[in-house]
């Protein structure tokens, strides 16, 4: 079990990894657990550290990451800690009760994710920590089989799947508990598998299961092919998807799908979301698949389904080719287009690279270029400033892997101090700073909705490579494609942490920029529609229309 704190190389005699701030310790624990799927521990001391950690705890809470927070604090602060952490954990336990409540805590950690354990003093901490790994293993799988109503719904669902000509399996993070069974089902019914945003960031060892058996077709979130498959399907079997805004990119209100939707997951979302599906089976995905597996013989791949998969496969190839061709075009430019930067970083990365990124334009650029590669990303919260500590955590959990992080300059200072941690540990990590001297993601809103009135989103041009050297890392600046390629090769060859300051032009619009703006302004579209139109006209006159996105859409539609 990996332990992260701010208090040196050991906590209560147990080896731990020390970072410079409690926030960074939480993000490192999150990165470690996201990369491995295993629980991590973050230990804080005192109320000041507890509150700093609480602000970061929102990220693992949103993505249901199994991080346990252990706070050592005087009794007088326990009420405040409980109050704050009630909003960012799924269970709060007292260390004194951990033996009797350990099983419950472990179950919450395993299935519902972050928990908080409050410890009154160091003596109790020393007694608690060695016992925790045994407690985690006591988490129980939910028992039982489908009840009568669920079994009937399962039959209805299988009936829909049987008659479907264009089925899709929508795999959420909650459905990754039994990937072989999902792939087996997909193969038997000849259905493509779409990964939600959460599932796209599944741990590397689960992705390897997909790589080993990539049939019939797996489409990660972040491409137009995904949107096309989703909107064209006639039946969607959603396994373990929370139907959150993130899973649907804020598109629920637009109803882009025409399919009958079957939802299989634990827990029932609120009433407003229930109109999104036709059949809902409240059960673990593993249980559903186990009971359904014997009933799906005879569903067999029909001719229409085979053609459906073949069409989507061609679309996937077209998508990848377009991105590659665009990148090759950008190589001849005197400046670095962020699309080129993201493409080259991904294309030239070592085989076992885990990518780390965060909310912001840089994350959008990276996401588009990745195709079934390990990615650590704060999906539900879109947090910024997490990349550097998350790379530390991801590396701690996967010591044999290379870890490369991409962040924007707007996020650099949040946890820049952790470059000293990277340097101190001498980790062979690559950090790429997409430096456009602005908060690029927010400027998208100002471009599309506020007619290019950029207020409060400028950042002075800064030499991040030099700052990295202060912290003991290698620092490289890349100003053109040639320097970028050299920098990527140097990162690849280096055994020390290396920061690359990638100078990119301001206001480049990521391929995913439009859907990001849609999601951000979800619920207020009618208020901003006049501004959207006016901005579009103004941008057209100023030559700021994102033609590369228009070209991409047109080519994908052909």
């Amino acid at each position: 079990m990996n332990i992260f704190s701010t208090k040196g190389a050991a906590v209560a005699g147990i080896p731990s990894l020390s970072l410079h701030s409690p926030q960074a310790a939480v993000y490192a624990a999150t990165g470690c657990s996201m990369a491995t799927g295993a629980p991590s521990l973050c230990v804080t001391f005192g109320i000041d550290e507890a509150l700093q950690a609480a602000s970061a705890a929102l990220t693992p809470w949103g993505d249901k990451v199994p991080v346990a927070f252990v706070t050592v604090a005087e009794q007088k602060y326990h009420r405040m800690i409980r109050g704050c952490y009630s909003a960012v954990t799924r269970g709060i336990f007292d260390a004194r009760d951990i033996d009797s409540e350990g099983g419950k805590a472990a179950t919450v950690l395993r299935y519902s994710r972050p928990i908080q354990i409050i410890v009154p003093g160091m003596a109790e901490l020393e007694g608690l920590l060695p016992r925790l790994p045994a407690q985690w293993s006591s988490g129980r799988d939910p028992e039982g089989t489908l009840d009568t109503e669920q079994a009937a719904d399962m039959e209805k669902a299988l009936g829909l799947m049987k008659t479907s000509g264009r089925p899709v399996i929508l795999l959420g993070l909650g459905g990754t508990e039994d990937i072989p069974a999902v792939l087996s089902l997909a193969e038997k019914i000849c259905s493509p598998v779409l990964l939600t945003s959460g599932a796209t960031t599944m741990p590397a060892h689960l992705l390897k299961l997909i790589e080993a058996r990539p049939v019939p077709l797996i489409i990660p979130a972040g491409s137009l092919v995904w949107t096309r498959a989703f909107s064209s399907a006639d039946v969607i079997l959603a396994l373990g998807s929370g139907f959150s805004e993130v899973d649907w990119f804020g598109l629920q209100g637009l109803k882009i799908h025409r399919a009958r939707v079957i939802r299989v997951a634990v827990g029932s979302p609120g009433p407003p979301l229930r109109k999104l599906w036709d059949i809902s089976i409240d059960t673990p995905v593993r249980r559903f698949l186990a009971q359904a597996s014997g009933r799906i013989e005879g569903l067999g791949p029909g001719q229409e389904r085979a053609e459906w998969v073949a069409r989507l496969r061609r679309a996937c190839d077209k998508w990848k080719n377009i991105l590659r061709e665009d990148s090759e075009k950008y190589r001849s430019l005197p400046h670095i287009e962020p699309g080129l930067a993201a493409h080259e970083i991904v294309a030239r990365s070592p085989e076992n690279t885990i990518f780390v990124s965060e909310g912001g334009a840089c994350g959008m650029w990276l996401w588009t270029q990745l195709w079934l590669k390990p990615l650590v990303f704060p999906v539900q919260m879109g947090t910024i400033g997490v990349t550097i500590p998350m790379t530390i955590g991801a590396h701690a959990g996967s010591p044999g892997a290379r870890v490369w992080g991409i962040l924007g300059d707007g996020a650099f200072y949040y946890n820049a101090r952790e470059l000293a941690t990277l340097s101190g540990l001498s980790l062979p990590v690559g950090i790429f700073v997409f430096n456009d001297s602005s908060w690029g993601a927010i400027r998208l809103g100002q471009t599309f909705v506020y007619k290019g009135r950029y207020i409060g989103t400028d950042i002075p041009n800064t030499d991040y490579a030099r700052i990295a050297r202060w912290y003991g890392c290698e620092g490289i600046t890349a100003r053109n494609p040639g320097e970028l390629l050299q920098a990527v090769e140097r990162v690849k060859a280096s055994s020390r942490p290396t920061v690359v300051d990638v100078k990119i032009p301001r206001d480049s619009i990521p391929y995913a920029g439009a859907s990001f703006v849609l999601a951000e302004f979800d619920g207020v579209q009618r208020h901003v529609l006049p501004n959207l139109v006016a901005s579009g006209v103004k941008n057209a006159f100023l030559g700021r229309t994102p033609l590369h996105i228009v070209r991409l859409i047109v080519r994908m539609m052909r």
Binding site: H20, D48, L51, Q52, A54, S55, A57, L58, T59, W61, G62, M80, G83, C84, A87, V88, G242, F243, S244, E245, G250, G253, P269, G270, P271, P272, L273, Q380, M381, G382, T383, I384, Y413, Y414, A416, R417, W439, A441, I442, G445, Q446, Y450, R453, I455, G456, P460, T462, R466, I467, W470, Y471, V517, A519, E520, F521, D522, G523, V524, H527, V528
Partner: protein, 321 residues
Amino acid sequence: MTIPGLNAGWGCGGEILVRTLSCLGIRHIFSISGSQVLPVYDSIPRVKGGPRLVVPRSETHAAFMAEGFGQAAGFPAAVMSTLGPGVANECVGLYSASLSRSPLLSIAPYQPPYKYNRIEEVFQGLDHPAFLGPVCKKTFLVNDRRELPSTIREALDAALEKPQGPVHVDISFPLLFKRSFFRAGRRPSRVGDGREARQGPIVVTETGKGPTHHEMKTGDVLSPGVRGFGIPFSLGVVLALQDRPVFVLTGAGSLMRHLDSLAVGVTHGIPLKILSLDGTDSAEDIADFYRIPYERAEEIPGAGMDDKGLHIVLSSDADPG
């Protein structure tokens, strides 16, 4: 809808908020941008004599700057973050303001539960009142734009009521975008900026506990409630008391911990004197990088007094005495 003290007009909720803050005497908004606060950003230039937007490099530092402002002025500045992670980052700064009894007005958009009734289904969803409630004096919620001016006024009164401290206001974010007519009403008695007439330099310490052995004879000594955030805190102090020199005493590693505050100070032209007791050579390199005047001094009093801008003084006096 009446907004006292304003001319009649047509504007979005963000503009109404900015005009209300201006009427109530709020002169600074410390904020990191987010899509949901763009209506506020877009409205700021439209309000003549309205609040100044100061953009730090993290929400945590925005909260500490606001704490420094409030402690020095006796009157709050506003902190505005985007929902979810932005608001969460304010937490320790608001706690610090509650410890030091500094008035502070935190404002954030929130996603109303019209589509979801579980916060975990919302992108960047966080139960703001539950999370910040334990560290704030009071939290407020605005669901109706007609209540916006009165709620902000009520929140301001709560922040200023003794013992002073931080308050948080959540505003339904569609309300910030929606446009409506507003008309003038009776101008309220101006709350004012609460500045006391003080003389002499101000010293800010990082201990979180008040004066240290560097107490200045004629000045005040201020400190954030939580230790280690003296530099961002003191940027707020400077903005509050622009006619008095402000010195912040920092220890080992402070400059490297708060590079972003140095960047903000330079960007916004905030005249702060940083007295570093660290003695490391990196201070000179840092000063050179950010183009901050720098000197080594034997004595702290008088050091940097004539300089108008951000200033780093590296003390060779290892035992201040």
